[in-house]
Amino acid sequence: MRSDGLENLRILAQFSAHEKKPAAGKTTENHVMSITVKFFASIREKVGKSEQLIDSEGISSVTDVWERTTDVPLPANVLMAVNQEYVRAEQAVRDRDEVAFFPAVTGG
């Protein structure tokens, strides 16, 4: 992902607004089989995207989600959440879960 001024503005606009729902999911005629994957802060920049919907077929753990959505090895210090709860990489992931990857937090 480029990190020029336009890109920074785009990112700012993205998190200035409240959480946006992804555009139409990977919906089939009769069933939604998808996992929402979110990337934040430096991890978002590293992987070049903020959100992706993936088919849940063949996904069993958080590690599987990372490998399906990125081309880089899982960073040692990355934090992971499933449905907004901190988890470890081995955590099971199911259809319709929301999985997030992000760096150490720096609020306060």
């Binding site: 998190f15 200035s16 959480e19 992000f102 760096p103 937090v105 720096t106 609020g107 306060g108």
Partner: protein
């Protein structure tokens, strides 16, 4: 117990007064109010900082801040907690976070306030990005 996430500058002292005024039932019961206000500096790691972008995970931050307040309420004998945290674009001197704790006694209020800000800094999913002369840079937890 109240948690609020704001995308615009806020006055922590006005927020404290307003919250306390909204709880007349505390009258005569509050012996201590412990307050922490975190404010944006205009320097960090030897560089001048012109501005900050504070990113967060909206679906998770509110939930975690509420959980921390519940933990504080159950661990200490306190009357109430108020946490306000900014996100979005900040300028130097802007308040970033307010933690207020009301209690009958100071030991409980101090301990709960310290717990809330320390836990918030290690568990709530916020990420600071500073604008310096060299460009944007992510703040590390050790900065």
């Amino acid at each position: 117990m109240a948690v609020s996430l704001r995308d615009e500058a806020f006055d922590p002292w006005a927020a404290l007064s307003a919250y306390q005024a909204a709880h007349p039932e505390w009258a005569g019961r509050v012996g201590a109010t412990a307050v922490f206000v975190g404010t944006m500096r205009d320097f960090n790691q030897g560089s001048a900082v012109q501005g900050m972008l504070l990113e967060h995970y909206p679906a998770m931050t509110g939930r975690y801040l509420e959980r921390l307040c519940q933990e504080a309420m159950s661990r200490w004998d306190i009357l109430d907690t108020l946490v306000i945290h900014r996100y979005g674009e900040l300028a130097p001197n802007d308040p970033i976070v307010l933690v207020g704790v009301w209690s009958a006694h100071r030991e409980q209020a101090f301990a709960a306030c310290r717990y809330l800000i320390d836990e918030l800094k290690t568990r709530a999913p916020f990420w600071k990005q500073e604008a310096t002369d060299e460009g944007l840079r992510w703040v590390s937890p050790d900065d």
